[in-house]
Amino acid sequence: MSFTAAAALVLAACGGDSGGEQSADGKIELTISTFGEFGYDDLYAEYERLHPNIKITPHTTGQGGPYHETLFTKLGAGSGLDDVTAVEEGHMSDVLAKSSRFNDLAEIGPAGVTPDRWLDWKYEAGRDKDGKLIGYGTDIGPLAMCYRKDLFEAAGLPSDPEGVKKLFESWDSYFAAGDQFVKGSGGTAWFDSASQIFNAMQNQLPTGYFDRQDNLVIESNPGIKKNWDQVTAAVERGQSAGLVAFSNEWNSGFKGSSFATKTCPSWMLGVIEEQAGPEHSGQWAVSGVFPGGGGNWGGSYLTVPTQSEHPKEAAELAAWLTEPEQQIKAFKAKGAFPSQVEALESPEMAEATNEYFGGVRDGELFVEQAHKVGSAQYKGPGDGKIQENAASPALQAVEQGRSPEESWQQLVNGAAQIAR
């Protein structure tokens, strides 16, 4: 690094250009990295038209896993990150723990961007402990409950929207309905995977695995253990299909009708349609009543790392991309569900329907779910990792026949190791 710095100094002294990323025609080059589908492709060209001095070079990675691994490697190496870097919600707690490596967007971003652009909880979850704004919110994944009408009917459960409301009213009623379903269906599972249920419950608690002083509270917060006991008991009563989310077996489970309900963020409808296939068209339905209130799963933020050489211009681009108008375009292009209040009120959202799910007005339904999400849960450093790498395997072990007590110990130990 010292070498590069020295070279830059020499260049600057000679009147050369120290930016390094200024292209020959004097344009400022901004790099932006995203993963999966953000729906921004057409927006870049539009931005370049509006800002003739800017040239945007986008970098897209396919999957979130390798994307974030690369992100943290480059953060560790101290170079190589793009000017605008997208971060997924599940990795946000790790990024916030390293907030010194990111610019405060409230400071360097355009003045016109105010907190009321976003839903409260989305905006809050983009800030670190000291209130620095690390990421502008892009999309979200408000939770609803998807269920199989035909399987409900066959097992003697109500399947109409009004009827299922009672079943999905609270977690207690949800698990009770599960017992009834398993008995009536002759062994078909109630839900796909224990961790899918547990994570939704966990995210409804006011704080996650840490308190606001970043102490691990997994053993001292009774809410966590209570959720654990409830979910693992349901597993032992045969309610879980024991399919690891996004595994090959899970994919097959949709087609094979292995389970009757699925926690459903807005983007899950597309997954179900693709996996379950045309032969199950019209059998799936989605309910706006979600046990324990609402929730969110997924969605991202745009950050500007301190590595960026053009932080102001980068923040400006990120601010523009997360404007309501732009997010509506992204929603139309790739279905990324907007987190901006104005975008949620737009006619595009209100008019959206989904044929596969029996013509339901899913836009309207999920907008309502987005407003139901309470305040942002405080997540300490490593919270997302505990969820994914300690809680999920421990629950999988219960599904594979281990005792809940032993697995609880596994979760406690695993969480301690991640927090260390």
Partner: protein, 305 residues
């Protein structure tokens, strides 16, 4: 004059020949190795401005970590299940390929195909074969009236499945290595043995095997090192996409996977570096034992002749 040049040539040109390797190694191998050794003495987070020196603290902690001993056992189990059949099959396959065949290139491409499989395809394929509920292998077991096996949950079964993955991928590669060596064996040695009345099996043991010694040492040493560093296969095998856990209770996590998890997931770079060095020492020891054993076995074969 010419003599002096010649002496210089003999004395110093060998260094010139090995220099490219050591120069490259200095940049891409030695620097990371020393960096890792240095980091292993600190409580060092992945992104850390002020790591604190703790001496051998990471090593002490590692020795008392039950997960380390569990993953070490897994590593040796998977290693033994894969390396031994792999080497034996490779020699057998090479002997088959060393006969006068029609379309020799075709056969070679055939057995080397697994080596060119992209990891993405490999993950998808094996998930489909060994899925506990919908997998092809369990489907066949059921057809044959056998019990289904939970390839993910059962510790030993998962080791077997991973070993199959490893063997599938590497046997052809090793077979071709052995084949290259077999083809360098002078033909008249075989002819002389035929004259002496030796059958094909005896010829194989008393002529071929001893002369394969340097190559077998290569195959066994590299299979040992590769086997103890096994990483890709258990990572791909986990049903949870991208997981480094090696199963719900680490039942098929290997040392390298554990190291990777410590570094990039738990962000404990100091601890991960300590694992890297312990693994390094273990591999050197095992490779050394293997090397000595191979030498004994091969020279015993020579003695019988």
């Amino acid at each position: 004059m010419r003599d002096r040049l010649g002496r210089w040539d003999v004395k110093y040109s060998p260094y010139l020949y090995v220099a490219p390797f050591f120069v490259i190694f200095g940049v891409v191998g030695l620097f990371p190795l020393l960096y890792t050794a240095y980091v292993s003495l600190f409580d060092w987070e992945l992104i850390d401005d002020s790591p604190s020196f703790i001496g051998f603290g990471n090593y002490v902690l590692l020795m008392s970590d039950p997960q380390f001993w569990k993953v070490l056992t897994n590593t040796f189990s998977i290693f033994l299940l894969s390396a031994i059949p792999q080497v034996i099959m490779a020699v057998l396959l090479a002997a088959l390929l060393n006969t006068r065949l029609r379309f020799p290139t075709g056969w070679r491409i055939g057995i080397l195909m697994p080596y060119v499989a992209s990891l993405v395809a490999l993950g998808i394929i094996f998930a489909n074969l060994f899925g506990p509920n919908f997998g092809l292998v369990n489907g066949i077991f059921e057809l044959l009236g056998l019990d289904r096996v939970d390839w993910q949950a059962n510790r030993f079964a998962s080791h077997v499945a991973i070993a199959i993955m490893v063997n599938w991928r590497w046997t052809g590669y090793n077979a071709l290595i052995v084949l290259a060596a077999m083809q360098a064996i002078p033909r008249e040695l075989h002819e002389a043995a035929v004259v002496d009345g030796a059958g094909p099996v005896r010829r194989f043991f008393s002529v071929t095997l001893p002369l394969l010694r340097p190559t077998l040492i290569f195959v066994i040493v590299t299979a040992t090192i590769g086997g103890l560093q096994i990483f890709t296969e258990p990572k791909l095998f986990d049903a949870m996409p991208g997981s480094n856990n090696g199963g719900s209770t680490n039942q098929f996590q290997t040392v390298t996977l554990f190291m990777y998890q410590s570094a990039f997931e738990r962000e404990d770079l100091g601890y991960a570096s300590a694992i890297a060095w312990v693994l390094f020492v273990i591999i050197i020891l095992v490779a050394l034992i293997n090397f000595l054993l191979t030498r004994r076995i091969a020279s015993a074969g020579e003695g019988r002749r």
